[in-house]
Assembly symmetry: C2
């Protein structure tokens, strides 16, 4: 790709070159530019102008944000080694998504890639790091949504699937359904040759200890760590939202649920509208928190509606839902959200939320605690 | 209960007597009435006035609406006997709910009772009349929500449960979860002694014929009847919405899903926000239609948001969602909705919808086709 023509003719900053973008996609007022063009570039007269114009399109910024769960995450209970491990994992997930966005890839692909990275990391309660259910199993939920055309896919209560988010993607792309659960979703996974892993793969000692602790008190608990010295409660979920260079946004969420949860409990993660929602007109949202409250509040779509119907900004909508409405009903947690302009919000009403974001025009941000 | 005091003192029409309503629940301006009272009623002075006032409360009208599915339901393909059977079943379901509302019972109980009546009838695709899945099983989904406190319960992919709506109710009342699916939901059902029925109970010849027809073409189809002479496609779902005398609204939905559906497919019926939603501030909604589109459109909560955030009436909100937004994405179906004022809407964009409604101050309405 050659930017020299742009540069020599002082095109506005948001205009760049692309060999693939057809002319008809460009707003007319944007490509009627003061000329003449440089003859040496091989463009002459009207024909030449048309050729050049067909190489110009508006390049938005891209943006991506991820989360690795919210909850009682305190600096006082964190070791430097652990903090570094979390930060590295978050950075890797951002990189997985950003590498796709940078090349002009689709936001839905970036969301899937970032979440796969988090699912493959034992630190987070999703995929490999999924918590144990009451029966000592791992039941995972995931969903994703494409803001461009409102297509969506979701799975609930799947077992031994390496990357539930990719199974949700397959439900979206390769089935006539949006949402599949349990044994039926497993059968579908076999049919499309999804990657299965043995139980051993999902065994993480810390998660097993969490179950034993929860079984003692017969409590259904969040993804948490309890030790003699500290109590930490996390709503273990991972998620990603992304905006691509084409102006399309997408969202996805994946979780291992709650430690010691009754077999079959479904939280907000696979629920389109509650745990995940994306619409180019408004925003892309991925939630993490006490799922029951997020379902009853239809959290993700609520933010979209506040923007669409009340004309609120992404920030204002997020503030109302996370810091007011959810707080009032006792719904602890947070979410990540972005809009098609590249605005990013990472609100949470708990003590902390593993989170990171990156925009094409900004530095990487990584956060864990309240700042 | 004696209404004579009301009548003799010309109380406003919306004021009636109740022995149970405590004084503190009454808006002050409503119970400061012109006196004196009839001494023969045993009420004298300030003490007597207080006694009488404690027997007065605002009686709203009650209202209930139900549906038995939408789709290609044409008068030309209906026999008088079949039509009568449907109308009788709808009337019975309304009666089941109304008998609770008349006595001052709760809207959530009326919704459950009306849906149980529809689930017990083989004509509708829910409970006894649930369609066959691809594997020749019956997998049922249900959900309900209480508009007073936004509590909710839902089950998906449950088998052999006589009344899935009552299992959803139990998830709401007796578990710490909102949504349970598959084998886990079955285990929960056993624990709370839900009523199980053998496979035979759910065998309905017409449904079996539908599966055989669908298997021939390997198509996942709605609850439908196909014969040589006519093609009828129905989105078989049942639902109810109700407003009780206390001003609380509730909604519930139950379904047997789609004939020949892949084991594990979940539609909008158990999704709070999509198939079912209730909030005293706005409306109670129960949907029936092509579930995948209803999930992606978060239909039930969308109507609530249009009312809350845009200030639209129930009718206008229903029109926008059912007749415009859903139509544009190809989402065939309908819904029933009511608000806390007793307004009822029964919109659908298909050829017909089995539906009925009753308000305390209006006659019973039963509809099947487009009028």
């Amino acid at each position: 790709m050659d930017n020299s023509i742009c540069q020599s003719h002082r095109l506005p900053l948001n205009l760049r070159l692309s060999p693939n973008k057809p002319l008809r996609h460009m707003p007319r007022q944007k490509w009627r530019l003061p000329l003449p063009f440089d003859k040496s570039s091989g463009t002459e007269g009207r024909k030449g102008i048309r050729i050049i114009y067909s190489y110009i399109y508006i390049m938005n910024s891209y943006a991506i944000a991820i989360h690795g769960g919210a909850g009682t995450i305190l600096k006082s209970t964190m070791t430097p080694e652990k903090e570094l491990a979390y930060k590295t994992a978050l950075q890797n997930a951002i990189a997985a998504g950003e590498s796709i966005l940078q090349k002009g890839g689709r936001s839905i692909d970036a969301v899937e890639a970032a979440i796969r990275s988090l699912e493959d990391c034992p630190l987070f309660n999703a995929g490999k790091g999924a918590v144990f259910t009451h029966d000592g199993k791992h039941e995972m939920d995931a969903s994703l949504m494409n803001g461009k055309d409102l297509t969506a896919g979701a799975v609930a209560a799947v077992q031994n699937i390496k990357n539930p988010i990719s199974l949700a993607r397959a439900v979206m792309d390769k089935s006539e359904h949006v949402f599949m659960s349990g044994a039926g979703a497993q059968e579908f996974a076999k049919k499309i040759n999804a990657e299965f892993m043995p139980d051993d793969y999902f065994f993480v000692q810390q998660r097993y200890d969490q179950l034993q602790e929860a079984l003692k008190t017969d409590s259904v608990v969040m993804d948490h760590t309890v030790s003699k010295d500290n109590k930490e409660k996390k709503f273990g979920t991972v998620g990603a939202v992304a905006l691509d260079l084409h102006g399309n946004i997408a969202a996805g969420t994946s979780t291992g649920g709650m430690t010691n949860k009754k077999h079959g409990r479904v939280g907000d993660t696979p629920i389109i509208g509650s745990g995940t929602y994306a619409n180019n007109k408004t925003c892309a949202v991925s939630c993490t928190g006490h799922g029951e409250f997020f379902i009853r509040s239809v959290v993700a779509y609520d933010i979209s509606c506040l923007m669409e119907y009340k004309g609120l900004s992404l920030k204002k909508a997020c503030d109302i839902v996370v810091m007011d409405k959810l707080v009032k009903i006792g719904g602890e947690g947070g979410l990540i959200a972005l809009d098609a302009k590249g605005n990013i919000e990472l609100p949470f009403n708990s003590d902390g939320m593993y989170r990171a974001s990156k925009r094409s025009d900004q530095d990487l941000f990584i956060g864990i605690y309240k700042d």
